[in-house]
Amino acid sequence: MDVTDLRTVFHTQDGVVHAVNGISFHLEEGELLSVVGESGSGKSVTMMSLLKLLPIPPAEIASGTVMFDGKDLLQMELEELREIRGGKIGFIFQDPMTSLNPVFNVGFQIMEPLKEHLGLSKKEARKRAIELLELVGIPGAADRLDDFPHQFSGGMRQRVMIAIALACDPQILIADEPTTALDVTIQAQILELIKDLRKKLGMAIVWITHDLGVAAGISDRIVVMYGGFVVEHAKVDDLYKRPLHPYTRALLATLPSEDGGEERLKSIRGTPPNLGAAPTSCPFAPRCEHAFDRCHKENPALERIEGVHDVACWWDVEKEAPRHAS
């Protein structure tokens, strides 16, 4: 899948909010790409824009192409797009408490896409639904099919969500902060499950998270987002060994150290940018310790440094000097 120059804006009463400002990335078959950033950095909006899952209006996908299997998802008619949604691309959402329909049993909710996309009969779909629940590690799968979402715990509900997303053997699984609403032990279980499923099924995964620690453990490549832009993109080892964007460095610095020292946890000072206007300067400049005059005048574009390592910054953190003579 190839995403190019994706822009999404929201038309609100207080004006236009520029949530995604020209995002490009690509996803190889079977690879795990993490998208990392603070709340409000446009991660979720980007992913929902891909399948046009945002309410339109107020949202509007202003430009961009999303090439998948040789076709642009953004230009597709709804009927065609529906076959991709749930069929070729599965989606897991952040909050398993509210993402399942409370009045239908989970069996019905898992069987729905099976009947829709694969044309299975009720009996076949039921059989497959039991397999799926077993696959995601729900004990007593056959008996739990007729249970309602409120009869499951948070972690179990997220497993049901994963089962729904995987129902039709998708090529891509988009997981939008699937562990954020869960407590840490459950979070670890879900991460293990995803790793395990990836080994078994071999689909590509886009993993959205605000936790660089989580991303480090599972991903092949990482995209760091800030203020609706991609600010850095690299293979996972490169990013942790050689972070090039001040924001990435700041994020890494906030992780608690492994030796368990007693120093205070670090935080990034300032607040995420207000996305009310199309930015004309680097969105991170107000919080950046390296910001110099150019940062306040021009917004840096993503440029390739080496291999698959891209960064959007005027400052070269390694040489302690501006990257380009301006």
Partner: protein, 337 residues
């Protein structure tokens, strides 16, 4: 569920007894006089004798207990005898609730009037629901569209213009000016041919329209609000992400959730059918229960008013219970154990 229902039914008994006493006390304390409509030439002592003959000479508690016995024991026994054609014996000694005005059993009159009310008011309720649900669904799905704007305006009108205005308005237009429909509902009409069936339809159209309009206005607002609540829920996004069609998303996922509160509101509204839209029945001369109640009040026919009012109270208590049970059936998260 059964346990819960039985418990609620048991609780209903003291509630209803208290209600019946309050109704009785209010009616007894009211300065009404069943002889008030008699000619002025009748002297006072004769009036007093009439009152004593009606049973008003006895003290209030005795009268109340007599009514209790008549309503809760004698009337059901009589109804069972009528239905199955056998006798418990002592039928002559059992007095039924008797109207002051007609001197006939109140229940017989009520049973005569019931069909008209059920047909006109009940049908208007059904029609109102059938109109309101689709309007509510579409208004919510296409929020702020012209359909929604028009729907909002029309239901605001339906909600705020009283039936004693829309009723005569329809009569002026369709009976007086155009002469399409009769302005008076003819209860004696027997439907036995296509012609009389058509006549029946024609005389029902206006009262049903007036009431259906009012009901639809109310229910469509509930439906719209409930749909809007649910449309923004996360599970709707999940359904779309699964690739379900808009039809399935709206009519299966959202509608099923949105109907839960609306069904409750509809169930709670059913007793009002029986109390018969009093004003509308008056306007179109439908001699249903509403009209019976009005005439009973005017003539100080205390047994009639007492019995009717109490029956409405029973229905309200009953449908409150039914609404709760239906809620439990529709929403799997509710358990009454």
């Amino acid at each position: 569920m059964l346990n819960y229902t039985l418990r609620r039914l048991l609780f209903a008994i003291p509630t209803l007894i208290v209600i019946s006493f309050i109704i009785f006390a209010i009616l007894a304390l009211a300065p009404s006089d069943p002889t008030g409509n008699l000619p002025l030439t009748i002297p006072a002592e004769v009036r007093e004798k009439i009152r004593i003959a009606l049973g008003l000479g006895e003290p209030l508690p005795i009268r109340y207990l007599k009514w209790l016995q008549q309503f809760f024991i004698n009337e059901p026994l009589h109804a069972i005898e009528q239905m199955f054609g056998f006798s418990f014996g002592g039928g002559e000694a059992r007095t039924r609730v008797v109207s002051f005005a007609t001197r006939g059993p109140v229940m017989d009159t009520i049973m005569e009037r019931m069909p008209q009310t059920l047909w006109v008011v009940g049908l208007s309720y059904v029609v109102g629901i059938l109109i309101a649900v689709p309007i509510g669904v579409i208004s919510a799905y296409k929020q702020y569209s012209w359909f929604d704007q028009v729907g909002t305006f029309v239901s605001m009108v339906g909600f705020s213009v009283p039936t004693f205005f829309t009723g005569p308005l329809l009569i002026v237009i369709f009976s007086v000016q155009l002469g399409w429909f009769p302005s008076v509902y003819d209860t004696t009409l027997e439907v036995n041919s296509l012609g009389t069936f058509w006549q029946q339809i024609k005389q029902m159209i206006m009262p049903v329209t007036v009431l259906a309009f009012y009901n639809a206005a109310q229910i469509s607002r509930f439906m719209r609000a409930s749909m809007l609540d649910n449309l923004s829920q996360d599970y709707v996004r999940t359904a779309r992400a699964k690739g379900m069609s808009e039809k399935v998303v709206i009519l299966t996922h959202v509608l099923r959730n949105s109907l839960i509160p609306v069904v409750t509101v509809i169930a709670l509204g059913i007793p009002t059918i029986f109390s018969g839209a009093i004003i509308t029945e008056q306007i179109f001369r439908v001699n249903g229960l509403g009209q019976l109640l009005i005439i009973g009040i005017q003539g100080a026919d205390i047994p009639m008013v007492q019995t009717l009012t109490f029956m409405f109270a029973v229905l309200i208590v009953l449908f409150n219970l039914i609404a709760d049970i239906v809620y439990g059936l529709l929403d799997p998260r509710i358990r009454y154990d």
